[in-house]
Symmetry: C2
């Protein structure tokens, strides 16, 4: 019998979120699962790491028995670092992050704690996937996600991923019957039109809430936004080499050293 893969599971909504509970249930059917996840929600944390504070890791028990789940006081990226270096006794075969409550498609990948955890594992050379469902609510229905989470994870375990590449998987918020399949996509060009809600505190001090409207500026049919709008699961290969290679030649014409 082939050895079962060792799977590191994390997220950014916190270890008690329904999304990670679904992810753990699916991963239990594939391999040996160890969970290292934040002890509280960390959405919008981007690729934050904890440099100036101590980190706590607590092994959870269930009915007095130790589980393979660890809650961590740090960010999603901290969880992956701690998981790989301190919690696991061998390198995981794969790292999965999510299932996030809410989209991480297009420009959202930049702000995403879910994807930062996946990227952190990728930086460590571990095949890695971030999963997100397009429903921000705590009571999101992850039923239709299960099939696709399993299928994509099994494919990554089988084929591996190119060095420096991590998958960003977003799942439309529709029933399994309505999902048309999986599309490999590029990240759509989109941004948020921020709106700051300015208020005055009881002490008379101005403050703001950040809010905004997502605007897709990209009409391509090969993008994640297009796929999701047409009820496909969107898979975008993402990289952490941020070099805009196509710009290097142009910058070299600037004669910066004259």
């Amino acid at each position: 019998m082939t050895k079962r893969p060792l799977i590191l599971v994390t997220n950014d909504d916190g270890i008690n979120a329904p999304g990670i509970r679904t992810l753990i249930a699916v991963m239990d059917t594939i391999g040996d699962v160890v969970v290292v996840a934040p002890d509280s929600p960390q959405s919008g944390m981007g690729h934050a790491i904890t440099l100036d504070a101590t980190l706590y890791v607590e092994r959870l028990t269930k009915n007095g028995v130790k589980t393979n789940e660890y809650s961590c006081s740090g960010t999603p990226a901290d969880c992956v670092k701690l998981g790989i270096k301190e919690v696991l006794d061998r390198r995981p075969d794969i790292c999965v992050s999510g299932i996030n409550h809410g989209s991480n498609s297009s420009i959202n990948v930049i702000y995403s704690g879910t994807m930062s955890a996946a990227l952190e594992a990728g930086i460590e050379g571990i095949p890695s996937i971030g999963f997100s469902l397009l429903d921000y609510s705590w009571n999101a229905n992850f039923e239709a996600s299960k099939k696709y989470v399993k299928l994509i994870t099994e494919n990554v375990l089988k084929h591996g991923l190119a060095d420096g590449v991590v998958l960003n998987v977003n799942i439309p918020n529709v029933s399994e019957k309505e999902i048309k399949g999986i599309k490999v996509c590029r990240q759509a060009k989109a941004n948020w039109e921020e709106k700051f809600d300015k208020r005055v505190s009881p002490q008379g001090r101005d403050y703001y809430w950040l809010s905004g409207k997502f605007v897709n500026l990209d009409h391509g049919e090969d993008t994640d936004e297009w796929a999701l709008a047409h009820n496909y699961v969107a898979v975008v290969p993402v990289q952490f080499d941020l070099t805009a290679h196509h710009s290097i030649q142009n910058l070299n014409t600037w004669n910066l050293n004259d």
Copy 2:
């Protein structure tokens, strides 16, 4: 006379850091400067944004007179969003972030609050540069940086930057005489070999400090690490389209829809 450019200045070390004071001094020689920067250090914040807390912005005064400097309770990315949408009355011509106390070369770009501020401005379509000096200390000497900060900023104002591209500028920690010039580079392949320093609190609870050793895995002579090691200022064009375009074709051979 040509209209002076409007320059938005921010950073991640906080509005009182010597690095941003140097950056402001240089920008004052180029255009009209407005500063919106964190009220406290935010290093390692990556592209975090504040979704679940209120944001305060305070206009600073000097000798009882209002300045063009605003301190903000949020992250570097929050500062840029607030600066553009709430503080400035027109779009800035350029956004500059830094000068960071410490390197943001190679993989550090991913964890960098300095660069996340620059990227945030880039997402908003504003030409943008992050500057960093390879000295983590608060008392770092920014003297030699001034010439290069000015030269590169003036070039960006003159030439503009391609849509979706932001500059990551790292400056070696040597005297001006020792700096050999500027090199346009790609991001070196490198990572951190984390080491967690495990300790026990006075209450008997285990905790960790994150530390580690930077490891350059890239022997190319066209990288930022090579340039910095050879006393060049390293300029890397970076992008926020994270799509690994070279991987799409391969993923399409997986037959995920069979």
